[in-house]
């Protein structure tokens, strides 16, 4: 019995001794030092994610790169390309080194949370987080940690969060612009508009934009047909669209969906115009047997311009930078660009914070609030207005129109650059973040 008591006492003492190492004293207000602006870059001190000695900034990405999510790695590469430019002589981050660390979330929130905790003290900010569920699961912690995140989510609910600095239009903006494009520019005012939607969050977002535009423009609405994510055969869906007399179909789906839908459309003689978003494109579209139908009927709505179009400054810069950091890279539509844009926003925040001489997390949040407008160099649908208040955030609404064409480097040929949709503009002003 004595032995037992002694052991208990020892254990209790040990536990109490250990206690207290990991908390913060309650009295500490947690305010950051040197928050008075204008201290200048020379006042920079080392904080987690920034080494003042070597002037190295480390930023983190939480992007899934395993299994079917592997292409998302190009997001990270695109971002590296931008930071490469930013740290060159004359760049906004001249003299600094930016290290980009990516952590594979496997698209699983239960993996992402510990992963975030494992890296949060090594990085200054999260410059890319992919996946709505992941961002949602991290939000409470981002708040506690005062961590800034620039997620590649294009859903509306998240845009006004103070910890988040979004970039680019939301999915619904793309699709409302697309509907207007067909109605106004393609002379399909009287047509019946339908939607073919993936049974998930993404499909819901697309439907939101589709419904908004159809209503605002007073178009004739047909049916909205859904399909499960693991679907192979679109016969039932196409049959439905066909019997509903659809003439324009807004497709809310990612991956190989347009391929599947188009082949059945050909087979079933379903003649309609198709709206496809930025996530639906892949290279095999231009070469397969359904290519003629796709070239003829499907328009892709993506921000920016086609690969190799050096008349748009941002595209020119991206290609130059990629050639420097990864000479073996292959032209790819859309995905390098996402990372590139997120890099721009991150840099805008960092640049200001460096000028203020304070790279603390709290200060980065302050900077994000006052970011005003970040230029997109013609890549992101227009300059992003952040404003002094998250509620006033406004993204661009210029969406470019592409068709499939194997002559283009990525297979996507520009049809109209930065189409200016009034409905999309109105959507951004009124619906986003409602």
């Amino acid at each position: 019995m004595h032995a037992r008591r002694r052991a208990l006492a020892l254990a209790a003492t040990a536990a109490l001794l250990m206690t207290g190492c990991a908390g913060t004293a309650v009295s500490n207000s947690g305010g950051s030092a040197g928050a008075d602006g204008g201290a200048g870059p020379e006042a920079l001190v080392s904080v987690p994610g920034f080494d003042a000695e070597t002037k190295t900034i480390t930023v983190g990405n939480l992007v899934p790169t395993s299994g079917v999510f592997a292409p998302a790695v190009t997001n990270v590469t695109g971002q590296e390309a931008w930071f490469h430019r930013a740290t060159q002589p004359g760049g906004p981050l001249e003299g600094f080194t930016v290290e980009v660390e990516n952590y594979d979330t496997e698209y699983n929130p239960s993996v992402a949370v510990p992963l975030y905790n494992s890296m949060k003290n090594d990085v200054l900010m999260l410059t890319n987080v992919l996946g709505t569920a992941i961002v949602q699961a991290l939000l409470p912690q981002l708040e506690t940690d005062n961590m800034m995140a620039i997620p590649a989510v294009a859903v509306e609910d998240l845009l006004q969060h103070p910890n988040i600095a979004p970039f680019g239009p939301v999915y619904a903006t793309y699709h409302s612009a697309a509907v207007q494009y067909f109605a106004d520019e393609q002379g399909l005012q009287e047509a019946t508009y339908c939607a073919l939607l993936q049974d998930d969050d993404f499909g819901d977002q697309v439907e939101h934009g589709f419904d908004y535009a159809v209503e605002e423009l007073g178009l004739k609405k047909g049916v909205a047909v859904r399909f499960p994510t693991a679907h192979q055969d679109f016969t039932p869906q196409i049959s439905r669209l066909k019997s509903a007399g659809c003439e324009v179909v807004d497709l809310g789906g990612a991956g190989a969906v347009i391929q599947n839908a188009a082949v059945r459309a050909v087979q079933l003689n379903f003649d309609a115009k198709w709206i496809a978003g930025n996530t639906a494109y892949n290279e095999s579209l231009a070469t397969g047997p359904a290519a003629d139908y796709i070239k003829e009927n499907v328009k892709f709505f993506v921000t920016g311009t086609e690969w190799g179009d050096t008349s748009v400054e941002g595209q020119k810069m991206l290609e130059e930078d990629l050639a420097e950091i990864d000479p073996d890279h292959k032209p790819m539509a859309n995905s390098y660009q996402t990372g590139y844009l997120s890099g721009m926003v991150a840099t805008a925040i960092l640049e200001q914070a460096i000028a203020d001489g304070d790279l603390s997390r709290e200060h980065l949040m302050e900077v994000a609030k006052t970011l005003d407008t970040v230029p997109d160099y013609g890549m992101g649908g227009g300059d992003y207005t952040y404003g002094g208040d998250p509620a006033k955030r406004k993204s661009g609404h210029f969406i470019s129109v592409f068709t499939v064409n194997e002559d283009a480097a990525t297979g996507l040929k520009l049809e109209e650059y930065n189409y200016d949709s009034a409905v999309a503009k109105q959507f951004n002003a009124t619906e986003v973040g409602k």
Partner: protein, 387 residues
């Protein structure tokens, strides 16, 4: 906490008789060492989060704890009662969305909503359990797979509690009144959310383990194992096998629900697609890799399986044959992103091929060796014929 279920070597008849008169093996702690272990374990639940500053370890610990609770429930069903289920994730989902309803929408206090997730998980399992009674083997596996698909359908279409496809956020209260796990202040020091949650989660793990050990050592636990070993013989011994199987299902569902509630507390956001087949498989793999029908299996399994993807990403650069970056140059090599998946698959295959009794078996053997080294004299198994 050294609650083991080691098979004690037989001593001589004389000693044995003495011992059996004095010891009660249905007790939680049979030996002094175990009692000390239990106390130290409880102390550690408080000491670790309050002393370990690394948020990664704390937060990984929370994840492990949550998965361990779900796997403890599954272990009761699959390990003790021998009924296979891939659908544990559905009950985790039920608990999580019940948490959304009670803690998020109704804003009930911790002492109400957390036990409620446990009860609601059990109720959901009670509805499902009668379906599986007549099924065995492959049929049982397929039925549980079906439950996942049907469960997903129900979740997605119950938008009020689940937010449909988009998921739903909720910040459940973690306060006990005198103590708020969400905002822990001990001795003038304030601790982070994850640290407080760590304490709450591991208290639940400890309570679950103790409850299961108590069950395992008494009538109900023996009934389950008897059904697993020989169902007919169990019936003949007077065990209502259907009743016991239904109860095992309910227990599994209840622990699943509790884990779901805690998962909601951890992520403060849940989405239907989290509770699909991947989580169901992961939980089953945890239970099997840890060791079916063992006390520590679910915890050890959760520690290994939950840690693999995180650690693999963290230390990818030290693993050979890795392609530095994803590229489309056509070279053969393992892209960094595939490492987690590979290690996961390999770990599963290797453990199953070389130690189907689960990793906890190694710990058990190790523990026994240590003990015998410590005591110096190894007891000898004596199975002499009766005189």
């Amino acid at each position: 906490m050294a609650i083991t279920e080691t098979v004690k070597p037989v001593r001589t008849a004389h000693v044995q008789r003495e011992r059996s008169r004095t010891k009660d093996e249905s007790q939680l702690c049979v030996s002094k060492g175990q009692r000390i272990g239990l106390a130290v374990g409880f102390l550690l639940i408080f000491a670790v989060p309050l002393s370990v500053g690394n948020p990664f370890l704390i937060s990984l610990g929370v994840t492990i704890g949550i998965y361990a609770i779900a796997a403890i429930g599954l272990n009761v069903l699959s390990g003790y009662a021998g009924q296979i289920s891939l659908a544990q994730s559905v009950f985790v989902g039920v608990g999580a969305f019940a948490g959304v309803a009670l803690a998020g929408l109704a804003e009930l206090p911790l002492l109400v909503w957390l036990p409620a997730t446990f009860i609601i998980g059990g109720l959901a399992a009670a509805i499902v359990a009668p379906l599986t009674l007549r099924l065995k083997g492959v049929f049982q596996i397929v039925l549980s797979l079906g439950l996942i698909f049907v469960g997903t359908y129900i979740f997605v279409n119950s938008t009020v509690f689940t937010g449909g496809n988009s998921g739903i956020s909720a910040s459940p209260a973690l306060s006990l009144g005198f103590m708020d796990f969400g905002n822990l202040v001990v001795g003038g020091m304030a601790y982070g959310y994850q640290q407080g949650l760590f304490i709450l989660v591991w208290l639940c793990v400890a309570a679950s383990m103790i409850a299961v050990v108590n069950m395992h050592r008494t009538r109900f636990g023996r009934s389950m194992i008897a059904i697993r070993e020989a169902e007919t013989a169990a019936q003949i011994a007077g065990i209502n096998t259907n009743g016991v199987k239904v109860k095992a299902f309910i227990i599994a569902g209840a622990f699943g629900g509790l884990a779901g509630g805690l998962l909601l507390a951890q992520l403060r956001y849940v989405q239907t697609h989290q509770f699909g087949i991947n989580m169901g498989l992961e939980l089953l793999i945890i239970a099997v890799v840890g060791g079916l029908g063992t006390t520590w299996g679910p915890v050890i399994g959760a520690a290994i399986i939950s840690a693999i993807p995180v650690l693999a990403t963290q230390y990818a650069e030290y693993i050979p044959f890795l392609q530095e970056d994803f590229s489309q140059s056509g070279e053969i090599g393992i892209p960094v992103g595939q490492v987690g998946l590979l290690i996961y698959g390999l770990a599963l295959v290797l453990v199953m091929v070389f130690e189907p009794r689960g990793v906890s078996h190694w710990f058990k053997i190790g523990g026994e060796k240590l003990r015998s080294l410590g005591s110096g004299n190894r007891a000898v198994v004596d199975v002499r014929k009766p005189s």
